[in-house]
Symmetry: C2
Subunit: 349 residues, 2 copies
């Protein structure tokens, strides 16, 4: 058993502070990763604050992990010491159900093991995330990071990236499609980059005119201010796909109204109840409202390779772990462009 240094919250409403956690001994198919960088996801804050009512303390967050391999189990085939690797939102799944057999571990029928606050099959208790010195993960859940990418800016690809890439990929967004991205935050900024790289005509849809300039810098062809009735009317029934990254329950009807017949809006953020979805809005033009959860390990690797090909990384602001509580406040105030990444070297200070 390894005792290591980490940062986490010991109770609901507590600030994050230094603490000690345990990692398991290396198993034959395990990869031992020393963590170099870890992204800060909004869901880290939800878990630390027990917003979803299922947190287990201490919570050590972090599921956008980039590091390098320091040790390998005897049976590991696909990684070597020193290699730069990543770990995203999952560290295990049952590997037996039909979803796992189809290579869709994120939809594991028996529940995938979340990187933190998941059920730890090896040590009992719950899993601890990437705000820590190292992590030990079965090689099936380890990603290869293309060497061409600036690795400081890669961590958010493992959650914000795959969460937006997967629906664009599954719904086969292609050259010439008119694609809307609702909401410009950690997820939205990646959605714009991917849709643009896939050849779509990208429309950033936002309530905030102040975000227009940045949206265009990120690759949006147009910006649609959703509070402007005339603009919304002009774009009615014209979108081939809409990626909705709004992280809370909201009124989706104005966005559904933007879709062409037979087209889909996919939710990736709002897990809460949506305000009265208008049945008629779906019926009258055979529209579809869907959801999507992160992506599989194979699709995450596909996304990383796509990023390498198109030179895509996240827009990040680097912080030391000692500033994590301030960073959380800034995330809540949408005061970050567009993702904080912790330089985990700072944990050694």
């Amino acid at each position: 058993m390894n005792h290591i240094k980490a940062f986490g919250a010991k109770a609901n409403d507590a600030d994050l502070e230094e603490l000690t956690i345990q990692r398991r001994e290396l198993l034959p198919t395990d990869v031992h990763i020393e963590i170099d960088y870890c992204g800060v996801c909004h869901s880290d804050i939800h878990q630390v604050r027990n917003d979803w009512g299922n947190s287990k303390y201490p919570v050590v967050p972090g599921h956008e992990i980039i590091g390098h391999v320091v040790d390998l189990g005897s049976e590991v085939k696909n990684f070597k010491k020193g290699q730069v690797v990543g770990v995203g939102c999952m560290v295990d799944s049952c590997q037996e159900c039909h979803s796992c057999e189809e290579g869709l571990e994120q939809y594991c029928e028996n529940g995938m093991t979340a990187t933190y606050n998941g059920k730890d099959k090896h040590l009992g208790g719950h899993t601890f995330g990437g705000y820590s010195e190292n992590i030990i993960v079965d090689e099936k859940f380890v990603l290869s990071i293309p060497e061409t990418l600036d690795i400081k800016a890669v961590p958010p690809l493992l959650c914000a990236g795959i969460t937006t890439f997967s629906p664009l990929n599954q719904w086969k967004v292609q050259k010439g499609d008119k694609v809307g991205v609702v909401g410009l935050g950690g997820l939205g900024h990646m959605g714009i980059k991917f849709a643009q790289a896939m050849g779509a005509h990208v429309v950033m849809i936002t309530t905030s005119p102040s975000k227009a300039e940045d949206a265009k810098r990120l690759g949006a062809d147009e910006v649609l201010i959703s509070k402007e009735a005339e603009q919304m009317k002009k774009h009615a029934n014209s979108f081939d796909f809409i990626l909705n990254t709004v992280p809370v329950g909201h009124d989706v009807n104005p966005y559904l109204n933007l879709l062409k017949r037979d087209k889909t809006m996919c939710l990736v953020g709002a897990i809460e109840p949506l305000k009265g979805v208008n049945g008629g809005g779906l019926i009258v033009k055979r529209k579809r409202l869907a959801g999507s959860l992160i992506g599989s390990i194979a699709e995450t690797q596909e996304m990383l390779d796509f990023c390498s090909q198109h030179n895509i990384v996240s827009d990040v602001e680097m912080i030391d772990i000692q500033n994590i509580n301030t960073a959380y406040s800034r995330v809540i105030n949408s005061d970050v462009k567009y993702r904080f990444v912790i330089d985990m070297q700072s944990l050694k200070n």
Copy 2:
């Protein structure tokens, strides 16, 4: 100009009574149909009562029309005198937009012309439906009725039938699929018959245990009582497709929970706002909520041919037009199995 006898409501809250309406002179591509039978759709009642706020009086309802050809315009190619034909929910569309060009007149970008309470392009004012002696319709909107079918029981196929056939057809329901039909009324009873004929394992989903026996008679393999939490849990994540025929806004979350990953529930009745749709319920297994509106003329003909092949008609109760107000009360109380059909011969009394 022809002045003919009809039954309709002269104002909101008024009973239906005998009145006189006009039909246009026969145009070269028109079919003149003497009406033999007309189905009573729940939306007839909504329109008569102005529930949707867009009714124009007098309202002469009726969009499930079966009759025989008595005259033909000089350019009509596909029909002959004496032939049994049908007219459903539409009598015209722009024929120019991309939806019309794709053969999807029900989604006409300029608005299809509803059989009643639509905008009459020829006479001005609004269109009058099938509770009348005859109707004159462009041949593009006339259906051929297979001779093998009992024509008294055919009228509801033209609305309740196509409304349920189309989504089952579009989402490619096939042998072995587990298909749920929510709600057992005019639409639901047709949904069961079609899904069964397509080879699906059909589960009737209802709040009323009293409907179980009849559902099985109609072709359901199982009946799931949606108020029984244990039963609902047993069927969670197991359906390939759900056809939701509930005609009013309701809580769709328990039904979405029944779908397998990546599968769809399609609304065909509820045009009103739905109670807080749970975003998480869509996200966690990449599920889809969709809607569908009647069907195209081509697909309606396809359905009629499917009915002939599988010997499918509606379960109907025949009435005289003089009993229409009583029939409306019984529809509202769900006291009909499963559709009233008016014998239009009674209008001559």
